[in-house]
Amino acid sequence: MNINEKLSTLKYNKDKESHLTVDNEICKQCNDRVCTHICPADVYEWSEETDSLIIRYENCLECGACKIACDKKNIKWRYPSCEHGVKFKNG
């Protein structure tokens, strides 16, 4: 089962704007970009084409791991505004 199929089991209400933001200039300097491989929802992807971090915030499970994992402490992490984000039925 791939990650998109996993995420399709969840109920989301997409927020108007991203609750996850980064300074892309700092991401450009980052060697590891651990956010792109530790996230359980595969929110982060590095685009070589645009030289920028793609943030699929609408898939976020609000676990907070990325904020702690980021070696550059470059992820501004807050909760989605109320009535938005993920909703667990069987947590």
């Binding site: 530790i38 992490w77 039925k89």
Partner: protein, 431 residues
């Protein structure tokens, strides 16, 4: 509420927040319980089970009245190697009240909130606290997306990420070695199939901890709980090990699920939900400051998890209750200073919360140091032992024994087990 002022604001309607709210309401204090989800439990995930002792102290009739799934009467430890597995299974058949129950958080947390409301607490769901209002170093209220609320005391129960404990200056940034990232899938299976697979009768359930195999040589463990008509299966891995692992966490989980001994548990079961959440496992050394003027922090927000015995909800409930009892004393005295709230710290120290965290303050570091022995060597040798014992071949038994003995000596397991034995002994003796 007059002028948006109330005696106590509790932020977060999980096990600790609900415990605070209901304790305060029962003492006749005015308390507002705030939750960011549309309903309590919407944002929450755990293994998981609740523990009878601390739950009963708050909700005496929960076994009869609450939406519990199954009584956990069977506890398993499953050790995997690459292909095989060995399982220790303990089942209690006594008539004593079971020690823990599996629950589904959306149902359970909501029920706890209902009890708090019945006791007289105010409940505000769909409310996100943006920040604390701090005046001259004293917490005097909260800013939500809609409006400001003021209180004599704020109890922070907003979970592992606790942005508010950080804003209050109670804690520093969390370290990646102090948390585990947990992912879980819930599998739908007919009731009878669950009972057949775990040799259970209806109403009773099983819990398992799973180590080794795909999870070897990292601080990682699988977990499993049976619910009424679902099985919760997941893995946790410390964030520092996950960073080193060149594999996505859900791919590790897929690898774990494909181990033959795990695959058979969830055979033909349909995944109904995927989720993830962090658990604070840094223990005693990662605890924040627990109180300051006008504020206390409880549950996961205070990193109160016993990472060796997999206890969290009970410590959350207990800490929530003790903070509320402290708030009652403070309200009666009309003194909300840090000095007066230090009673909360004292109560925690006298309870199992800090006593147990202290007992295990170096346990995670120790386990991490011996992770290869625990998650690879022991499962390998244990599986090998059973293979040798049951392998009827044409090889004479004394040849077989000799080879196994040689394998044991060569592995260094005896030497490697000495520190583990000493460590366990220390935990028994040290006070």
């Amino acid at each position: 509420m007059e002028n948006n002022k109330i005696q106590v604001i509790v932020i977060g309607a999980g096990p600790s927040g609900c415990a605070s709210a209901i304790t305060l309401a029962r003492a006749g204090k005015k308390v507002l319980l705030i939750e960011r989800g549309d309903n309590a439990g919407d944002k929450n995930m755990f293994g998981g089970a609740i523990f009878t002792q601390q739950t009963k102290e708050l909700y005496p009739n929960f076994i009869e009245e609450a939406p519990i799934e199954r009584a956990i009467i069977q506890h398993q430890i499953i050790m995997l190697n690459d292909n095989d597995s060995i399982k220790f299974s303990y089942k209690t058949n006594s008539n004593e009240i079971p020690n823990s129950y599996s629950v589904i958080r959306s149902k359970w947390d909501n029920w706890c909130v209902e009890q708090a409301i019945k006791a007289g607490a105010y409940f505000a769901p769909k409310t996100l606290v943006k920040e604390l209002i701090i005046e001259n170093g004293k917490v005097i209220g909260i800013k939500t997306e809609q409006e400001n609320y003021y209180s004599d005391i704020v109890i922070i129960a907003d979970g592992v990420n606790s942005l508010l404990a950080k804003q209050a200056g109670l804690r520093n940034e969390i370290k990646d070695s102090d948390v585990t990232v947990n992912i879980k899938e819930v599998f739908k299976l007919p009731k009878e199939k669950i009972e057949d697979r775990f040799l259970l009768d209806s109403a009773n359930g099983a819990g398992a901890k799973i180590l080794g195999g795909p999870l070897k040589n990292m601080f990682s463990m699988g977990f499993l709980y049976t619910n009424k008509e679902t099985i919760s299966l997941g893995i946790g891995i410390s964030l520092d090990d996950l960073k080193k692992l060149k594999m996505k966490p859900y791919d590790l989980f897929e690898k774990f699920k494909s181990h033959p001994s795990i695959a058979s548990i969830i055979k033909d079961a349909k995944i109904i939900e995927y989720s993830s959440h962090m658990i604070p496992e840094g223990g005693y050394n990662s605890m924040p400051k627990l109180y300051k003027d006008g504020v206390m922090v409880v549950g996961d927000a205070a990193m109160l998890v016993n990472n060796v015995h997999f206890e969290g909800t009970n410590l959350a409930m207990l800490s929530g209750k003790l903070a509320a009892e402290t708030a009652v004393v403070a309200i009666n005295k009309q003194d909300f200073s840090s000095k007066n709230l230090s009673l909360y710290g004292k109560k925690l120290k006298e309870s199992i919360v800090i006593k147990d965290l202290k007992t295990h303050k170096n346990s995670v570091d120790f386990v991490k140091k011996h992770i290869n022995t625990i998650t690879e060597l022991y499962p390998d040798l244990a599986c090998e032992f059973f293979r040798v014992l049951h392998n009827a071949s044409n090889e004479p038994k004394n040849e077989v024994y000799r080879k196994f003995l040689f394998r044991i000596l060569k592995s260094g397991v005896i030497f490697k087990s000495i520190p583990l034995g000493i460590f366990a002994m220390e935990k028994c003796i040290k006070r």
